[in-house]
């Protein structure tokens, strides 16, 4: 008893000393400078963007110039561009210092950033009417527990790209590619005809890209990541069927085995070089495939909504990104002004060559559709139904676990059932924490 008390005393002493150390040196353990501030709606704001295939750096610079001109120089914007790979960590490391006011976030981060107090709730700024005017698929992009933490920069999903010449050579038509069964049948013909050794390429490297491909197939097999209690359930019949299907395409020699090292760009390159006939990829890929300087199939690139699975479902994975205001920004009102301008119907339509708009009305305007007819033709269907990756605060941990286990199955180290059982067990243990 006495020893226990002593130990407790010791422990509280250590804690006390440590806490005293903290108060001396700042307000939190990490040394963060405390909360944000609305600011007076003017001044300079810092925005963190991504080097990407959609909105280019030049696009952003033009948008900023127009924005500054429109508000008469009251608000100036200082943009920074980093690679997608560096974006998450940049947002995290800069958070305590409040370096950035506006940050571009991926659809998988709102739960994490919101629950950890890195991005601000925009509920009072987001106009309620806008909800009806936006595409229904894009609204959940930056929502977490019924609150809005960001405005989507446009819808984005993976579409099915194909080589028109290759399928014509084996006498197939785009109608044959409406279902995954049809895709495999066509792929087999292409392989037999010796047109392509491996007709399908995927982005199955250990990365988020793998989860996106799996998500889309999971949807096609009528599965879901989580149940209503938020627990991972991909080891059920649908989840396993989707993974078995993936593995089978490798075993049958239809999928390029190097897919387990590919990211999206590698898939796009394999298509552009005419090495492969099919590939799932983001909607912004069309621009590269049609560019004769980097593509040998510029005239033969075709695109469809993702094929249907056995269930008849064909949801696209929601791959949108969103602009958020950081919780530690000292100029949140000005930051919002800028986001509001960037995501307006007018601005989005002006840059429709770079990214699809999020407003329903834009899809009715012929002058907008004309800019990118192939993608517009399939995108309404693709955006109508979407599958979300689990919206949990520790998503990146869960995602890492799933990536590793999916790869274990694809590389033949575990059966799909074993791999997914292990993934579910490990992920749910993380989710309970």
């Amino acid at each position: 008893m006495k020893g226990k008390n002593l130990k407790r005393l010791q422990r509280s002493l250590i804690a006390g000393v440590a806490a005293a150390g903290l108060t001396l040196s700042g307000c939190s353990v990490t040394g963060g400078g405390g909360g944000g501030d609305a600011g007076d709606g003017t001044g300079e704001i810092n925005a963190l963007f991504m080097k990407q295939a959609g909105y280019s750096e030049d696009d952003y610079k033009q948008i900023i110039a127009d924005f500054e001109e429109e508000n008469g120089g009251d608000i100036t914007v200082n943009p920074t561009f980093v690679s997608y790979e560096a974006l998450h960590d940049k947002i995290v490391t800069s958070a305590p210092a409040g370096t950035y006011d506006v940050v571009l976030i991926d659809v998988i981060w709102p739960a994490e950033f919101a629950s950890k107090g890195i991005i601000a709730d925009l509920g009072d700024k987001f106009p309620g009417a806008a909800e009806d005017e936006l595409l229904s698929g894009v609204i959940p992009t930056a929502a977490y527990q019924d609150k809005f933490y960001g405005v989507p920069n446009g819808p984005s999903t993976k579409l099915f790209f194909y080589n028109e010449e290759m399928i014509a050579e084996v006498g197939a038509t785009p109608e044959d590619l409406e279902t995954w069964d049809g895709v495999l049948a066509t792929a087999e013909k292409i392989k037999e005809a010796g047109i392509s050794e491996y007709p399908i390429a995927w982005s199955w490297a250990q990365a988020e890209a793998l989860i996106c491909d799996y998500a889309q197939l999971l949807g096609a097999f009528d599965g879901e990541f989580t149940n209503d209690d938020g627990e991972l359930i991909i080891n059920n019949a649908q989840g396993v069927a989707a993974l078995e299907w993936m593995k089978q395409t490798i075993d049958d020699g239809l999928t390029n085995p190097a897919s387990t090292t590919f990211l999206e760009d590698d898939v796009s390159k394999a298509l552009a070089q005419g090495e492969t006939a099919f590939g799932l990829n983001w909607d912004s890929t069309m621009r590269d495939l049609q560019d004769p300087e980097i593509s040998t199939i510029a005239d033969a690139a075709g695109v469809l909504a993702t094929p249907q699975g056995p269930s008849g479902a064909r949801p696209g994975v929601n791959g949108a990104m969103a602009y958020s205001v950081t919780a530690t920004s000292k100029n949140q009102d000005a930051a919002w002004e800028f986001i509001d301008y960037m995501t307006s119907e007018e601005t989005q339509e002006e840059y429709v060559h770079s990214s699809q708009p999020s407003w329903k009305a834009s899809y009715e305007k012929p002058e907008v559709i004309d800019v990118n007819p192939e993608v517009f033709a399939v995108s309404e269907e693709a955006y109508a139904d979407s599958i979300l990756r689990p919206a949990v605060p520790n998503y990146s941990t869960v995602s890492q676990i799933i990536q590793v286990e999916l790869q274990n199955a694809l590389l033949g180290k575990k059966t799909p059932q074993e791999a997914l059982d292990d993934a579910v067990e490990a992920a749910n243990a993380e989710l309970e924490d």
């Binding site: 990490t30 040394g31 963060g32 750096e57 560096a86 490391t93 305590p96 210092a97 552009a272």
Partner: protein, 286 residues
């Protein structure tokens, strides 16, 4: 006797063969990179592999080095200049600081001299990750985030232990008699350092300069986290972004890589004659 002779010739032949293999092993990967940088995309991905490009394709060099309208090129050129500024400043500061400190370690008697030097070297064992977030906060409160000055500051903390170590070991090998003679003639300690020790420690100085520059040019993690714009982003960060975004064209990654490797390669080639003797005299004796 004849057998002995034959064996020697065989030995010679094997030595030259080994030299040839080593030379090829050192050059081949770099050569492939250089060839990729001047090949068209079609040549790079050609199957079977092309040993030589079908046409000389210098567009990427043109874009990266000279094209004023290319944002890729502008970013790369900015990063190159930033790396030069950071590299040169880090070398100068680390050398000056290192020379003074190394003199103290090599020539002066003070308590815990040995332990102190070891303490400096121990800092090299720290994983950089363990310092990232608090350092970010410090640089932020000093307004040094995303500046080359901030980067120079943190890079010096990495490089100085090295220059201290190489230089102090070298200074110890300079005979004390020379300095003593000068001191008797009335030269001060610092005078002796500049007039006697430095001139006879040239190989050590060159070795230290080379180490310092290569370390600073190579540094990645601090630059990745502490820089973000063209104002301070360095070459390694720029290349890693290339590799992320432009994997569709490996040639561009190769071009960036070749240009990024040129300054350290030049330095290494200039100083390689000195470095062996610079290290031999002191450093490797610990």
């Amino acid at each position: 006797m004849k057998q002995h002779h034959n064996r020697r010739i065989l030995g010679q032949a094997l030595t030259y063969l080994a030299a040839l293999i080593v030379a090829v092993g050192c050059i081949a990967p770099l050569g492939w990179l250089a060839i990729a940088s001047i090949s068209t995309q079609a040549d790079i991905v050609a199957k079977p592999m092309r040993w030589w490009p079908s046409e000389l394709h210098l567009d990427r060099y043109q874009e990266i080095l000279f094209d004023p309208t290319s944002s890729v090129g502008a970013s790369f050129r900015a990063a190159f200049m930033n790396s030069l500024v950071v590299g040169v400043a880090t070398v100068v500061i680390s050398m000056v600081v290192g020379i003074f400190g190394a003199y103290a370690f090599a020539r002066l008697k003070f308590p815990f001299r040995r332990g102190f030097l070891v303490l400096f070297l121990t800092t090299y064992m720290l994983p950089q990750i363990s310092l990232l977030i608090p350092l970010y906060m410090i640089l932020n409160s000093l307004g040094m985030l995303d500046t080359t000055i901030g980067l120079i500051l943190v890079d010096c903390s990495l490089v100085i232990p090295f220059t201290l170590w190489i230089l102090s070991n070298y200074f110890m090998t300079v005979p004390a008699d020379l300095e003593d003679a000068a001191r008797i003639d009335g030269t001060s300690r610092l005078g002796a350092l500049f007039r006697i020790i430095l001139p006879s420690a040239k190989p050590g100085l060159f070795a230290a300069v080379m180490f310092a520059f290569l370390l600073a040019w190579d540094e990645f993690m601090y630059a990745l986290i502490f820089t973000s714009s063209d104002a301070s982003k360095t070459i390694p960060v720029a290349i890693s972004e290339f590799a992320g975004r432009y994997t569709t064209d490996f040639g561009l990654v190769a071009t960036g890589g070749v240009i990024a490797a040129i300054p350290p390669l030049v330095i290494a080639l200039i100083f390689q004659r000195q470095i062996v003797s610079g290290l031999a005299a002191g450093a490797v004796k610990g």
